[in-house]
Symmetry: C2
Subunit: 391 residues, 2 copies
């Protein structure tokens, strides 16, 4: 685990806060990045005076001492937790315990990430701690710039993703068409069957997924629709997979569009345009270029062909109605953003490039690769053909 | 999806707030329970005047309109999102958009759950909205009381869990012992191999898991240690599985303790005591009884035998050093709590009962079942033998 400590030190020097405080479970990537500790229950991480301290439950204590990156690990009982809960109830009792932990560390004011729980924040204020939201999200901003090790982790997850995409492709290739319906091994081929095969393949490669998209026809135009039931012939089938490696906890993300049978001329045009938008976005990527500019490069391709984008109509439900990409790391969606308002890219940023063209009621096509920004442009972390997968 | 709406109406009537506001992604169970909507990105749910309104990104809009339980779905662009982000940046621009959405709904003050993001909360305050933390966590408290449908969902997930436990047991039974080491099919039997088999079995039953515990020897005394590497003979192996059904999103939870070979007399005594503590806790469960009293019943068994509990030493790392149980539902850890300070149980609460006895450096034993509180006691949702699994 690489740390955000130097950046946090600079941030705290520039602000008025004595310390940086996170209160979340180990699923929170800022908390994991700062503490090097993963736990299912809430705990507290404090960075102050160059030292990382954890405050954990008795239950977590023995493991946190051994496994975390923290300099010091405290447990709730070190600060009379039981008494305070007796007096104030579990919620405010815990907050008073945190306040006492801060006082003990000589901390009277803290900066917290925007997602910090307001229940803890307001209670700390009652107990005399000054709590200010860090609107720059310094930990997430730091996490966004990956080291070589982190890039290797993401690339490793993308290898699993490619194997899973191959498994999906193989099922679609082997399927037969009867009318508008796909059959495989004597049964209708459904989103669910392909999804299960994808998940099993990921598992064989040490990766897990909560969900993935295998959506055909109209449902492929409904963003984040996972797809359900029988897959259709001769219409786009979007396969979008975003697994996490179980060991490293780093994600990957990739989308390909398939047609089993014959796509219409219109869908072929959409795909050609999307490939052009994809190339335009990739060509625009370099350190110092803004995410908004990269997004603009993709939008321009669609706009010139007469399709709406979020630039020309911020409420459009057709055309290119999403951003061009997002950061990927410990979170599957994290900084930076390739969208309106997206800031400057830096070497080490890992981002998706995923333009798409859609029409509600019809469907859509999308191409998504994962790339790392380098000193002189980008390096693609994806090895999978980008041509229209007509199988 | 059952709703918290009547309880929220009563809560709002008793408080000074015009509405109840959640800002989270669909992984947040309060948000999912209120909105009936699951999405990977943040969105906003407002309950006010008996109406549920969502505020979602353009990307989520078409799906949220169709799939959510909300009465009205708005998109960010309905409230000049792009202009506000241009003017104030993404973070405060989004918050001002939410403030405008609230004003449009005639809402000047909101109650929010303790986990509500402080970044949004403080920004709303700047924009003139009164934001108060709901320290009773009314949505979580409502979610804790399950309907028959929800209990069926949890029971269905526990069926998958039993199949997974069977799969783990089968591997341990088939394993052979050489020295202190277990072998299966010619290779060392590791935590990882058993964990993978558990995950594949869950997947066959429509369930997923992020992690599970297969920990032998000393690591079985380190709470939430998943276990790594070769499993040992003649010492306790803790198997704790807590899957989620992918369709219903409801969890289950179960632990069994195995020994491959011969446990020592001391470990046999620990197990017998733990079975006694498990029976005592179960016998104590009834509506109106506090979670603290149920926890007390388990503690008493251990204390009478001379072992420390959190009651006798709040900082103990040996003995019975965790709570007796927790609620299970959309979250794997939710209300109510069978622990010090745990409040009154009610019919429909689904809780784990999981006493255990541990010694750092040696290991531990635990038995965990999942039960629902009924009008006249409890009903066990688990069908799996509780005797010491010496295989």
């Amino acid at each position: 685990m690489d740390t955000a400590y130097p950046q946090l030190t600079r941030y705290l020097e520039a602000s008025d806060a004595d310390g940086y405080l996170v209160d979340a479970d180990g699923e929170d990537s800022d908390q994991y990045y700062l503490s090097g500790y993963h736990a299912p229950d809430d705990f507290v991480t404090l960075y102050a005076d160059g030292t990382v301290s954890l405050l954990v439950s008795e239950l977590e204590y023995t493991r946190a001492k051994d496994d975390s990156d923290a300099d010091v690990v405290y447990k709730l009982s070190d600060f009379d937790y039981a008494d305070r809960v007796d007096r104030l109830g579990p919620d405010r009792g815990r907050a008073e315990t945190v306040a006492e932990f801060l006082a003990d560390s000589g901390v009277e004011s803290v900066a917290v990430p925007p997602a910090f729980p307001i229940g803890t924040g307001d209670a700390l204020r009652e107990f005399g701690i000054d709590v200010v939201t860090d609107r720059d999200s310094v930990v997430e901003t730091t996490r966004a710039v990956k080291t070589e090790t982190e890039i290797d982790h993401v690339a490793e997850t993308q290898r699993a993703n490619e194997a899973a995409m191959d498994a999906a492709a193989e099922m679609l290739e082997r399927a037969t068409i009867d009318g508008d319906t796909l059959y495989l091994d004597g049964e209708q081929l459904t989103s669910e069957r392909v999804r299960r095969r994808i998940e099993l393949t990921l598992l064989e490669h040490g990766c897990g997924m909560d969900d993935c998209i295998v959506a055909s026809g109209a449902s492929s135009a409904r963003a984040h629709d996972s797809g359900y039931g029988p897959l259709d012939a001769n219409v786009p089938i979007t396969v979008d997979i975003f697994p996490r490696n179980k060991r490293t906890r780093y994600h990957a993300d990739m989308t390909r569009t398939f047609v089993k049978g014959e796509p219409t001329e219109r869908i072929r045009e959409w795909y050609a345009l999307t490939e052009e938008a994809y190339r335009a976005a990739l060509d625009a990527i370099a350190p110092g270029v803004t995410g908004e500019a990269v997004h603009g490069a993709a939008c321009e391709v669609y706009e010139e062909a007469g399709y709406p984008t979020l630039r020309t109509d911020e409420s459009t439900e057709d055309g290119f109605f999403h951003s061009t990409g997002h950061g990927v790391g410990l979170d599957v969606h994290e900084a930076p953003s390739l969208s309106l308002g997206g800031g400057e890219l830096a070497a080490g940023h890992v981002v998706t490039v995923e333009p798409g063209l859609y029409e509600q009621g019809t469907g859509g096509v999308r191409i998504e690769d994962l790339v790392v920004v380098t000193e002189d442009g980008y390096r693609n972390l994806t090895s999978y053909p980008t041509d229209f997968q007509i199988v």
